[in-house]
């Protein structure tokens, strides 16, 4: 189970920038059209403005530079050795976002193999709210963006999403954290889904709601506490920042390994 995608597309996030070479910055509401040259921004983009190109972008074209995307105020950390493989997190995620139970609509994915050896028998693959989010950078409509209303969590606005799948291709992790699925609210059109730390969860159970200031369903429901929320930016390289040890002393009392 790879964390860095190399197989399916053969392109990593850094390759996008190198290969295409064109960085288009579009600023303002109804702003400039995309050109082959790097245009000078006509006004300083504000955190609430969403870059909107008027031309269809070429595949892999970066539309927003990393330094314009503030880091998110929240992240999920997981302990893959603690996980009991019940998939409650996946069921809770799809439930509050879509109102149905479906692992295929879950923004967090647990994959497991009954016949394999611990700890390689299971992995938890959560969205990392990357500091340099490839999915945001390639979105041609700005549907997937850092949402300042929710602590800059990288959120899909499904109204703007055109289902092009560039976010799915761009995510450097396997499985892609942004994925397409038919959306009943839009007559079955494909729309991107991605972890929003429960910011836009129409069926959120708590009055406080979600987002970095609120509650996440996966964190709340996990029976063993294998998922936690943090406001601190995790180490971006490799897995160590996101796959951590959450096993406390009492875990050992149940006969499970602690470090």
């Amino acid at each position: 189970m790879n964390d860095q995608k190399g197989g399916n597309t053969g392109i990593t996030r850094r390759d996008f920038i190198k290969v295409t070479g064109a960085i288009v910055i579009v600023a303002g509401i109804g702003g400039c059209g995309a050109t082959d040259e790097s245009p000078t921004p006509t006004n300083t983009p504000s955190p609430t403005s969403t870059p909107v190109p008027t031309d269809t972008p070429e595949t892999g074209q970066i539309l927003v530079t990393p330094d314009l995307i503030p880091p998110a105020d929240g992240y999920l950390l997981v302990d893959i050795e603690k996980c009991q493989g019940c998939l409650s997190c996946m069921l809770a995620c799809s439930l509050i976002h879509e109102g149905v139970e479906s692992p295929s609509l879950s923004r967090i994915q647990i994959m497991q193999n009954s016949f394999a050896s611990f700890p390689d028998d299971l992995t938890i693959e959560q969205c990392r709210q990357c500091v340099d989010p490839a999915c945001v950078m390639v979105c041609p409509t700005g549907a997937l963006a850092a949402d300042a209303n929710f602590g800059n969590v990288r959120i899909v606005d499904r109204e703007k999403c055109i289902g092009c799948g560039l976010c799915f291709e761009a995510c450097p992790f396997t499985p892609s954290r942004a994925f397409l699925a038919a959306d009943e609210a839009y007559d079955g059109q494909a729309k991107s889904r991605k972890c929003d730390l429960c910011a836009n969860a129409p069926y959120h159970w708590d009055e406080a709601g979600g987002g970095p200031d609120g509650k996440q369903a996966c964190v709340a429901v996990c029976p063993v506490g294998a998922i936690v929320f943090t406001a601190e930016i995790p180490r971006q390289e490799g897995d160590r920042g996101y796959k951590v040890d959450l096993r406390e002393r009492n875990w050992g009392k149940l006969g499970y390994p602690t470090s």
Binding site: C86, L95, V100, E101, M111, S114, F118, T174, L180
Partner: protein, 700 residues
């Protein structure tokens, strides 16, 4: 239909035909067992056929709660059909398994599967969402493979070249765009037989993942007789939930108030209770492996009851699968023995008692006497891995365990009671208890002299009940002796009996003293357990590891959530206002339908009796050492008393049967259902069929 997928898959293997039954046709039965019994009744005209007859229908049913966040109710699947394990008649029976099969079936858009007929060549069923194919086993060389290899072969086929670890679309490949074909990262859920089922061993079972098994009934052989090797399902769809906020709120509240708390553990061992922490319930005689491991849980469960290990041996094995081969020399051999049962697809409890029986015969020097064929086992090697591997293969292949013909192997492959029958030993060994199969050729589980909820329920039904709802009381009871026992017992009995609607208020339902175990109070207790389990556990599929929740140590008043939370969950998922008592009443209806089927199969009250030793001897060895303590009133005083060392009274038990039949409204002369009882439950058509077959009882 919130909770339900809306359609049931119907497969005719003889004609290789795939069709659909609308779930709404059977919605009144809830799901699981109720639907299975009703469908079986409708589809099988001649209920006297043998389980291996192509006319046998096997149902594999989910509930509206499967695949959802209802605590410990999201992952179980109920299998039913005419079984081949019980003796002398293979009763229409049930078996049930956990894991993720039922959930995946729901996501594929199916509430269940109905299997009719028999294929002319070995086949497997490939379900990918709405696409259903009956495929020959030759493509993947599945026939002959063990259950683990079969599943992994199917996984490779469904994933295609890239294996697992990424999103993929299992169906609708050609020309389908992302919006029509669903994607998943999950492996298919597969239910399969091993070599034992292929060779029609009556001890054969169905296996899913590493150690989820529908163990009882010999369904492995039933599938084998249909040339059905496996059913694989992968679903990318969803279960509609009536009130998503209520479901998650209920689940979180329920967990907060009734489940274990890692920060404040009240117990550190796994038990069959809702309150249990996720420590594996393993009974390997040499203990729990002290190697790295994780807990592993079925779909949506709040507290897993098994584990996966750093050497992958014994993965997901729990409870009875780990009780096998307790005389093994090492823990590693015991774990391997569990793996062997799972790989070959064999019923763990029958293998455990069967091995014990052979060992007892060997020890007594009887194994080489009379009509017993030559035994290929080397008893000097008992305790070794070679010994258990040979025994497992003997039962799976009906040979000497090394590929050579053996009458002994053939005999035990048909189950140990039938083997004893062949050897002219069945009656004498049942009478003495040397053959520990006290009812219907079914292996011993709990002490029938003490734990009458278990023995009576089993004998009046079709199989070992395997319902632990009252059974944990014995553990509590053995600890609570001496001063304070009286108030402890009355407190416990009150809490539990208060939940036993509509019989609440009758504390004598849990008085296990000699003077009470044949009473109408006991008839009510047994009836309640039949109704509750038929609906809430076997139809709505609340798992036996965690339900019912009678007494809960996390509550200040110790009162568990059963009776209150099940309907809340059911309402959040389905939108239906179904009370706990409504469910009990549906359970009663299901129980009456099942009994009608057994009556059509040939049941009469005169057949309903325990093996002689239960009446004539104290236990040869108690099913639970050293004694089972249960609540009882002795000299008018409640307390906990040890009740294993007594015998049941044959005549008084016969009187008990009469009381039980009266409570059901059945003909006490025969035990047959009556028209009055059936019609009061809307089952007039069932009465008609009984009447046509001369099996309708007379109302008094």
């Amino acid at each position: 239909m919130d909770g339900y997928a809306g359609k049931i898959l119907r497969l005719n293997l003889t004609e290789r035909k795939v069709s659909t039954i609308p779930t709404s046709d059977y919605e009144q039965w809830g799901g699981g067992h109720g639907m299975g019994s009703a469908i079986f009744f409708d589809l099988v005209k001649d209920k006297t056929i043998d389980g291996l007859d192509p006319g046998n229908v096997v149902t594999i049913m989910t509930s509206p709660l499967c695949g959802t966040l209802v605590a410990a109710a999201g992952g179980r699947t109920e299998v039913q059909g005419i079984g081949v394990q019980s003796y002398p008649i293979g009763w229409f029976t049930r078996s049930n398994f956990g894991g993720r099969f039922s959930a995946m079936l729901k996501y594929a858009g199916w509430d269940g599967i109905v299997i009719e007929g028999a294929a002319d060549e070995p086949v497997w069923i490939d379900i990918r969402d709405g696409e259903v194919q009956i495929r020959d086993c030759t493509e993947l060389s599945l026939w002959g493979k063990d259950t683990w290899d079969t599943q992994q072969s199917i996984w490779s086929d469904v994933a295609g070249g890239d294996g697992y670890g990424d999103w993929f679309e299992p169906s609708g490949k050609d020309g389908a765009d992302a919006s029509s074909a669903g994607a998943t990262t999950q492996r298919p859920a597969v239910l399969t037989i091993g070599p034992a089922g292929e060779n029609l061993s009556r001890v054969a079972c169905l296996v899913h993942d590493a150690s989820n098994a529908a163990g009882q009934g010999g369904f492995g052989a039933v599938w084998g007789s249909k040339n059905l090797k496996a059913i694989s399902v992968i679903g990318t769809g969803h279960v509609e939930i009536n009130d998503p906020k209520a479901l998650l709120s209920t689940r979180l509240w329920h967990k907060e108030n009734y489940a274990f708390n890692l920060a404040d553990l009240k117990e550190t061992w796994g038990t069959f209770q809702f309150q249990s922490p996720p420590a594996p319930i393993i009974l390997w005689e040499k203990g729990r492996p002290k190697i790295d491991q994780r807990p592993q849980a079925c779909m949506g469960c709040h507290s897993g009851c098994r584990a996966r290990y750093q050497d992958a041996s014994g993965n997901e094995a729990s409870c009875i699968a780990t009780s096998f081969y307790f005389d093994a020399k090492t823990l590693d051999i015991q774990r391997t023995a569990s793996d062997l049962l799972n790989r070959y697809g064999l019923n763990a409890v029958e293998m455990m008692w069967g091995m014990w029986y052979l060992g007892a015969l060997a020890y007594e020097g009887l194994l080489w006497t009379g009509d017993i064929p030559e035994c290929p086992l080397d008893w000097e090697a008992y305790g070794s891995e070679e010994f258990v591997e040979q025994l497992v293969k003997m039962v799976a292949y009906g040979d000497d365990g090394k590929g050579n013909e053996s009458d002994f192997g053939k005999d035990i492959s048909g189950g140990f009671v039938r083997a004893a029958e062949k050897w002219g030993r069945r009656e004498v060994d049942l009478a003495s208890g040397l053959l520990p199969f006290p009812y219907w050729g079914i292996p011993l589980h709990k002490e029938p002299r003490a734990q009458v909820y278990w023995g009576y329920g089993t004998l009046l039904g079709d199989r070992d009940i395997n319902e632990h709802g009252f059974d944990w009381i014995k553990a509590v009871a053995s600890g609570a002796q001496g001063e304070g026992a009286e108030s402890h017992a009355t407190g416990l009995v009150k809490i539990v009996t208060d939940k036993m609607v509509p019989y609440q208020g009758d504390m004598d339902m849990l008085d296990f003293s000699e003077s009470n175990i044949y009473s109408e109070h006991m008839a009510k207790m047994v009836s309640w357990q039949r109704y509750y389990t038929r609906f809430w556990k076997q139809s709505m599929l609340f798992c036996d590891s965690r339900w019912p929740d009678f007494i809960n140590i996390h509550r200040p008043d110790f009162i568990g959530a059963t009776g209150m939370v099940e309907p809340e969950y059911a309402k959040a998922v389905t939108g239906k206002d179904l009370s706990f008592e409504d469910g009990i009443n549906i359970g009663r209806k299901i129980w009456h339908l099942d009994h009608a089927i057994w009556t059509l199969q040939g049941r009469h009250r005169d057949m309903v009796h325990f093996a002689d030793n239960v009446y004539e001897e104290e236990p040869l060895f108690p099913a639970e050492v050293p004694n089972v303590f249960l609540p009882g009133k002795e000299n008018g005083k409640w307390g906990y008393y040890g009740y294993s060392y007594r015998t049941l009274d044959r005549d008084k038990f016969d009187d008990f049967k009469t009381r039980f039949y009266e409570l059901q409204g059945w003909d006490t002369a025969t035990g047959y259902p009556t028209r009055a009882a059936l019609e009061s439950l809307g089952l007039g058509y069932v009465a008609d069929e009984l009447e046509d077959n001369g099996k309708l009882g007379e109302s008094s």
